[in-house]
């Protein structure tokens, strides 16, 4: 008989080992999945995980790693702060869209003025857009006790409709021959989020992601607010006795995660994507949830998890073109990863005992 015994403290070793175990299990089961789809499992896995890093065209794919990883890390850092405190913002996709609309909107409003100030203003607008969208569920939760999971998620669908309306209406390119979508910001020098070192993939969003990692690390490890977040997540009652104001914590956690998601959207629209279109968002806001958990809600972990998830996106694209692996297979692959992670987490919080207990039957 196998029993689980709760550990007094989560095991540090298992906590580090579970993401690795989960990745390995996902590779094995992902291989099965690819085999069922009629693809060579080993070749598929190699294509996804090896080709982008060390393959023949790695010089092209490596910068992509930063481009795809940056938004994931930015969003996941914000989400992780909330998840740690038990504040569940799962509407990052909507905040990402609003950040992109606000950022691009400010940029397009200045078109075609060339000025140094355009881009910083867009950054502020993007951060504001995301922050504002996340503050709606925060205020509703603080004022009325409304469930922030449902409200933040509903707002994703509202934001998607708003995006459609913007790309067909207000932000539509007047010189676009009637096609939906805004002007391309890549052709507007003051608003273009360029590579800081040409060809490296290192745009301003990557810098922002690195700053966010450091900021979150310091906040959680050294700041009173970070301590309040951790205590609230682990023992809400103790936190209240300790003088933590839950309302302010909710406003902070949702606000900061919305802001970071908005920034991610803004950097994406002004750089790699270039323009506001109906299907501008590709689900980074949801994948970032997986990134946050895979990184153990720890800033450094999230950085690595973000890169790994970016790798599956890029590798998935390669596998799609070379092996005709369906795009959805990668989505399943990413979902599987979260499953295995949650399942293996049992080992972090519980000890496995074999044989019957003397005290319990």
């Amino acid at each position: 008989m196998i029993r689980f015994e709760k550990r007094p403290q989560p095991s540090r070793l298992s906590s580090l080992a579970t993401p690795l175990l989960a990745v390995m299990a996902t590779m094995v089961f992902g291989g099965f999945l690819f085999a069922v789809l009629g693809k060579d499992p080993v070749q598929s896995i190699v294509t996804i995980f090896w080709e982008p890093l060390f393959g023949e065209f790695a010089f092209y794919y490596r910068p992509q790693l930063l481009i795809k990883g940056a938004p994931l890390v930015l969003i996941a850092i914000g989400l992780a702060l909330g998840f740690k405190a038990g504040v569940w913002n799962i509407g990052a996709e909507g905040q990402y869209i609003m950040g992109a609309i606000f950022g691009a909107g400010v940029g397009l409003a200045f078109y075609p003025t060339e000025s140094f100030w355009v881009f910083p203003l867009m950054i502020l607008a993007g951060a504001f857009g995301g922050w504002m969208w996340a503050t709606i569920p925060a205020i509703l939760k603080v004022k009325f006790g409304t469930n922030e999971i449902l409200v933040s998620l509903m707002l994703v669908y509202v934001a998607e409709q708003f995006l459609a309306s913007m790309s067909l209406g207000l932000l539509k390119n007047p010189e676009g021959f009637g096609f939906p979508g805004s002007r391309n910001l890549q052709q507007y020098a003051s608003a273009h989020n360029t590579d800081i070192i040409a060809g490296s993939g290192m745009h301003w969003g990557v810098v922002a992601a690195l700053i966010a990692v450091i900021f979150a690390y310091v906040l959680l490890a050294r700041h009173r607010l970070g301590f309040a977040i951790r205590v609230t997540g682990e023992a809400p009652r103790a936190a209240r006795f300790g003088g933590v104001n839950p309302s302010r914590l909710i406003l902070f956690c949702l606000g900061i995660s919305g802001m970071l998601a908005g920034l991610a959207g803004m950097f994406e629209v002004s750089g790699p994507a270039g323009q506001i279109t109906i299907d501008f968002n590709v689900g980074y806001g949801f994948t970032a949830i997986i990134v946050a958990f895979l990184g153990r809600l720890h800033p450094i972990g999230i950085m690595f998890a973000g890169l790994l998830m970016a790798l599956t996106y890029i590798g998935g694209d390669i596998a799609q073109s070379q092996l005709q692996l369906p795009a959805a297979a990668i989505q399943v692959f990413q979902g599987m990863l979260l499953f295995f992670l949650l399942a293996f987490d049992l080992l972090t919080n519980y000890r496995v005992r074999i044989g019957s207990s003397e005290f319990l039957t």
């Binding site: 029993r3 689980f4 409304t146 449902l150 509903m154 997986i290 297979a329 399943v332």
Partner: protein, 306 residues
Amino acid sequence: MDLSAINPIILIAALISAATPILLAATGELVAERAGVLNLGVEGMMITGAVSGFIISVNTGSPAIGFAMAAVGGATLSLLFAFLTQVALANQVASGLALTLFGLGISSLMGQNYVGIKPPRMPDVDFGPLSDIPVLGQILFSHDPIVYVGLFIVAGVWTTLKFTRAGLILRAVGENHDAAHALGYKVKRIRTLAIMFGGACAGMGGAYISLIRVPQWTEGMTAGVGWIALALVVFASWKPWRVLLGAYLFGGITQLQLNLQGAGIAIPVEYLAMSPYIVTIVVLVILSADKSRAPGSLGRIFHASQ
């Protein structure tokens, strides 16, 4: 704009059909939540049901078998959630999100060869002369069988929860799992069954969208209905009859905004399409003051040795 084009009788008849997917999913989730399990994977189970029901119907030519297999598909997917939360003792919020993300992926993988196909049509139930009664006949007796199955399930859940011993045990497990365990009830087994029931209902609700409402398969076609169903359970204070009321309210809004789009009202289509989500938020805000009715052990992990 021509509002006179909207016929109130047809609107009411259509809202009953529009409400059915939400009704099925929310009733299933209600049972799971009354057993103390918060399953945020409704959207994932619905879309999996939508695709599996669609594939089976197209291949067998029978929508009825399709619905049955959609229920099986939803229940199978929910077993993953049951494993994570009941065996691996994982956080229910995270596990539910995982289920939704996984369900969305697996459904688009399964359905990629079925885009653009028309499924076999499910005929309406033949009530004979009853459907010829003016007004009432059209509203009550002109629907496909699943509408009535949905109503039957709500009635069944209500009676079971309120009047039977099984319902009492289920509620006990949801209100206080430690006490239920001390009385000798198998908390995990009961919860797993409740989760599977929720999955089966969500699967059928999803299939209703792909087989009857739309009827077609497109990726991500449930478009948040699963989440609205979750909100509806809160709205209904965990009571089956209020789920019915809420589902008709949301069905009505969905149908009305579709009709307004058709009537060419001056509001842009996108803003009309936002309305069901915004109304959900507003209703949640109005009703979230009363939290007292939530099952006592909702969302908590049960581990026997504590």
